[in-house]
Symmetry: C2
Subunit: 343 residues, 2 copies
DNA sequence: CTGAAAGCGCTTACAG
DNA sequence: CTGAAAGCGCTTACAG
């Protein structure tokens, strides 16, 4: 009843070879007679040998753990980040890397500088991280950081982000194409870079369609269902027939509020979301959305972390989302005419 | 631009002391002149010294990482587990322990035995873990495991679980008290232990209220919104006026389906959920629910992991949930008469 | 191909 | 109080 009772030395002794040979055999290093290799492996398996990770890391001088620094939403993981986490874990697992999540508040409160004591190879961070002094210090100290999301001025780390402006334009154009006359937008927090870009996309689409821009139809809300619900109610009260909800929570809230208010979707109100995690009601409601390419986001982030590019300027990668048309905009007899994905 | 460029030796040299003294100074060990201690600390801070975690672990012989083994729901983290994860991280952070999440499928496919190579001190596992051979082998090998959820026969690890039966009975009794005549239940997967217990609680409450038990009002569904929506629709079609939804997804689905079908909640239909994470629509809908005491669950799990109790039989801890009454059962003029929490 | 030895960075008895 | 030394378990030049 103990964690790692048997060491490489034990295996070597039983197999009748040196620890060096045992190490080489187990790690597929050249210079071991096949017969010996097999024997060592058999013994290791038999003895249920598990290498001691810390010792290995120390000898190798390379960590096999990366961090993921997330915002804290009322003691809950925001759905989008849970989604990112899931895919990051999958990508990392393939490379035999583990992912360790820390919530920014916990780190700030409890761990402080001890963070890197964990010997991470680097960390993936959410945009919120830019607000924490200790994260900025990490960046300044040259600790490998990759941001998933829109880069902030003054927080100069490599980043991988989804294309926001044109994809938002396409989303709103889609609403126009399915016949919406009066389109409102539930925008994210006003201080976010991606909020500005998505609203610009909305303006672009409106302009291209020859529609007037009405500022009263752009409502800012935080990234919560509760906060967005008020915005949705407001827009519906102001007689919109199309809503571009620029986040998952906003889309969920819109779908829900419409349902509660007895507004027919997509008949009286068409809805396009952003992010595209089909969680909870979004799934049942069959939500049309600009879907983030999470696999690409996490794959790139991991690549940038493990193979940092040399150079003065932080690498910026932009990946393209996909407009997935589903039930909330599927009006019979109206074609979108867009390069979309039928879902 | 490097991760941990400076070592304890560097700090010691600059401070003009031995590494031993430096180590003692930094770790609050006795036997260091206060003046020296201060000097070392100042130098360490100045030089931005960060201890090398792996080296520390190796020397100490104790890991500061625990694992969390979760089920994989279509590349998404089930909300309840995201919630548990969040609190486990918070509890662990206080003790300077990190939490590493692995998804059972990833481990099974990619990592295999390499898992413990990470030198975890132990792992918290979800009930689904019992289905994986490698987890059972870990348990047999004496690797510290703690299950959050209902213990399964044949998977004999320490566990901490919420009380299921009586709390379910209280939930259904509450529906009776607010005037429900015909109460249905959306039960979880039939092979789950907690499903059986929660359904038994339902039967107990029905019997106590002198109501007949109608098996056709007990519908099993998996723990997804989509799967539960069918169950909710079925029950509403069969004229129930109260639904005990035994999981968050089931509650969300019920609230949603009721809204879509134009059923007034709580007027025509009262709803009680289970788990109690107020995410997404549950929050907006103001859901009454049996709320799991996640802080207690994670605190106990961590305690059991870090201070395993000696003895032959695996420790089993049961914590009490709270029935939180909110909007989906709040009918005017009807008192519940129960020891509840007003939210 | 094989093994003895040094070293990864840290901690802790063990002598001064 | 303080430091030289050994050791945690593993890997990798370095000699045989």
């Amino acid at each position: 009843v103990s964690t790692t009772p048997i060491s490489l030395a034990d295996v070597a002794r039983v197999a009748g070879v040196s620890v060096a040979a045992a190490s080489r055999a187990l790690n597929d290093r050249p210079g071991v007679r096949p017969e010996i290799r097999e024997r060592v492996r058999a013994v290791a398996h038999e003895m249920r040998y598990r290498p001691h990770g810390a010792a290995r890391e120390l000898a190798l001088g390379e960590s096999s753990v990366i961090g993921l620094l997330l915002p804290d939403l009322d003691r809950t993981i925001p759905p989008f980040w849970a989604w990112v986490h899931r895919h990051l874990c999958a990508e990392a697992a393939v490379r035999d890397i583990g992912v360790m999540v820390y919530f920014l508040d916990d780190v700030a409160e409890h761990l402080g500088d001890a963070l890197i004591a964990k010997a991470w190879r680097g960390a993936v961070v959410a945009p919120d991280a830019a607000n924490y002094r200790f994260v900025r210090e990490l960046a300044d100290a040259g600790f490998p950081l990759v941001l998933i999301g829109s880069a902030r001025p003054g927080f100069d780390v490599p980043s991988v982000d989804v294309e926001n402006r044109h994809s938002s334009e396409a989303a709103v154009r889609h609403l126009v194409d399915v016949g919406c006359e009066r389109i409102g937008v539930i925008a994210g927090p006003a201080d976010r870079v991606e909020t500005r870009l998505r609203v610009e996309g909305y303006r672009d689409a409106m302009a291209a369609a020859g529609r007037p821009f009405d500022p009263s139809l752009v409502i800012h809300a935080d990234y919560t269902v509760l906060g967005s619900a008020d915005a949705a109610r407001h827009l519906i009260d102001h007689a919109v027939d199309g809503i571009f909800a620029t986040s998952d929570p906003a889309a969920i809230a819109t779908v829900w509020v419409a349902s509660r208010m007895g507004v027919d979707v997509p008949g009286e109100l068409a809805i396009v979301g952003f992010d595209g995690l089909q969680s909870e009601v979004g799934e049942v409601a069959d939500l049309t959305a600009v879907v983030q390419p999470v696999e690409a986001l996490t794959r790139e982030a991991l690549r940038m972390l493990t193979q940092p590019r040399a150079g003065d300027v932080a690498e910026r990668v932009v990946v393209e989302p996909t407009l997935v048309v589903r039930g909330t905009t599927r009006r019979s007899g109206v074609g979108s005419g867009l390069p979309t994905d039928g879902g």
